[in-house]
């Protein structure tokens, strides 16, 4: 992968993790963090630029989705569950 493409992927990865951490719901938060990590890990050896571009676009869309759903979660927050903190 070209250096700039790699930097973009890492940047997207960080943004997605950072957005996921903001889910108020324990179960959504832990799922998002885990799923994002596992998805990037599973795709780490992909070389084909077209595939990389497609995955990046999907990632951007997912990032926007996470941000929307985090906002909704904050609007309708409830008590923490017993295993938190």
């Amino acid at each position: 992968m070209a250096a700039s493409a790699r930097a973009q992927v890492i940047s997207l990865y960080r943004s997605m993790l950072s957005a996921s951490k903001k889910f108020p719901s324990y179960n959504y938060r832990t799922y998002a963090l885990r799923r994002v990590r596992d998805a990037f890990r599973a795709n780490r050896n992909i070389e084909d630029p077209k595939t990389v571009a497609r995955l990046m676009t999907e990632g951007q869309q997912t990032l926007a989705l996470i941000q929307r759903q985090v906002t909704i979660g904050k609007m309708f927050e409830s008590q923490k569950i017993v295993v938190e903190g």
């Binding site: 324990y26 008590q79 569950i81 295993v83």
Partner: protein, 415 residues
């Protein structure tokens, strides 16, 4: 049992959720797909004359075709949106039986089916149909020879659920489909707990009708679908009449946001199936191994191999199920016993697999799903071990067992 109901105080922490067979939280991706249709795109999908109708119809058809149909290998014309698996089951059983009743008046089902299937069969009985309720073996699975032998020339339909919601057992659907096809009997399966969790193909399994539930697969409540085969054609009498929507089989405005939600849930499930299955299996093994390492006399109900891993039904000998549930108030669980409803009868599913009366009263169902964490599993296992041990300490029966007394040899006297 209403004395145990207790809504949470403002700052009281919520129990962790381990009841995924009862219902599932919506995946955020599903809610995200639905919201536009709850806000701006609110048209009736059957309105033919304006953009509101067209965009709503388009969303509904995408859900039908690319999502629901694709997940089970069906043609989109074979998918009917309903209000859920209960409605789908009612439609399939009553609808098919009644259509063919001139020549065929026999229906076969199992003793472990969901209440809506059993009750629909009971209604058919009152209409003069003859119903065979097949028993299951102690592992929860059907005896295929017995099934084949029960088919009569006047049998129109066989209904067997793919994965049981109480004990997680997975029936041999491919073999059952083969038998039904060879005998000219329609095969219906309530796949509410199976769709999106295990690969299911209606052609490979020779399924003619299949019930799908939205809220079991991280989709919205209030929506489901019924798959109705077109080749060879399955005919049904509709239960709900009206404007002729859904090929006349289920009239009524299709609720676009819910259909979109079901579609999104199916599409996500297809994408995540392997990942989820691996994870749920790992977590279920972790839970069972921890509990069994920490407690003696724990029995798993249902076949240990031919099952869906995320539904674990355990009996804890010498402990009463309701007491254990109350003691585990930090964990949202369900018992295999129907005494959470009005009667004190043990669950009919546990009775059907021949579970000992006492063990049937001592059973708990643990549901693991997409959003379950290792932390939740460990917490549940630890609490379970602690509470079962505590309850056993207080039990005179347990004391007798520890002293080597065989409980079955005791003659209890009347007072």
């Amino acid at each position: 049992m209403s004395s145990t109901k207790h809504e949470l105080e403002k700052d009281e922490p919520r129990p962790l959720y381990m009841d995924f067979q009862a219902t599932t939280p919506m995946d955020p991706r599903v809610l995200d797909a639905m919201l536009p249709y709850q806000v701006n795109y609110y048209g009736n999908p059957h309105s033919r004359t304006h953009a509101y109708g067209w965009e709503s119809e388009s969303a509904m058809e995408t859900a039908r075709k690319q999502q629901v149909a694709d997940l089970i290998g069906a043609d989109p014309r074979e998918i009917i949106f309903t209000s859920g698996a209960t409605e789908s089951n009612n439609m399939a059983i009553k609808g098919v039986a009644r259509f063919y009743q001139a020549k065929k008046r026999h229906v076969i089902t199992t003793q472990t089916e969901h209440k809506c299937v059993l009750d629909s069969c009971r209604v058919l009985e009152s209409e003069g149909f003859s119903i065979t309720y097949l028993p299951v073996q102690t592992n929860g699975l059907l005896d295929l020879e017995l099934l084949e032998a029960s088919i009569r020339p006047d049998t129109s339909l066989l209904s067997v659920m793919t994965i049981n919601n109480e004990i997680g057992v997975r029936q041999p659907i491919e073999e059952i489909g083969q038998i039904c096809r060879s005998k000219g009997v329609f095969f219906h399966t309530d796949a509410a707990q199976a769709v999106g969790k295990i690969p299911l193909n209606v052609t490979d399994c020779k399924i003619d009708l299949m019930s799908i539930s939205g809220h079991k697969i991280y989709g919205p409540k209030g929506v489901g679908a019924l798959y109705v085969r077109r080749r060879p054609r399955v005919r049904m009498e509709p239960i709900q009449n009206g404007g002729g929507q859904e090929r006349g089989l289920r009239s009524g405005t299709v609720p676009t946001p819910l259909a979109v939600g079901l579609g999104a849930a199916c599409s996500i499930a297809q994408h995540e199936m392997e990942y989820d299955h691996n994870r749920v299996s790992m977590l279920a093994n972790r839970l069972v191994q921890k509990i069994m390492a920490g407690l003696p006399d724990v029995i798993m109900n249902g076949d240990p191999v031919r099952r869906y891993p995320g539904c674990v039904n355990l009996s804890f000998a010498y402990v009463e199920g309701e007491s254990l549930l109350m003691a585990l108030k930090d964990v949202a669980l369900s018992s295999g016993s129907a005494c959470t409803s009005a009667s004190l009868e043990p669950s009919y599913v546990l009775r059907a697999i021949g579970a000992d009366e006492d063990l049937a009263h001592s059973s708990i169902r643990f549901g693991i799903g997409r959003f379950t964490t290792e932390e939740e599993v460990d917490y549940t296992a630890e609490k379970c071990i602690h509470q079962v041990s505590r309850l056993r300490e207080m039990s005179p029966l347990w004391e007798m067992v520890q002293e080597g007394i065989d409980l079955k040899s005791i003659k209890w006297t009347q007072h």
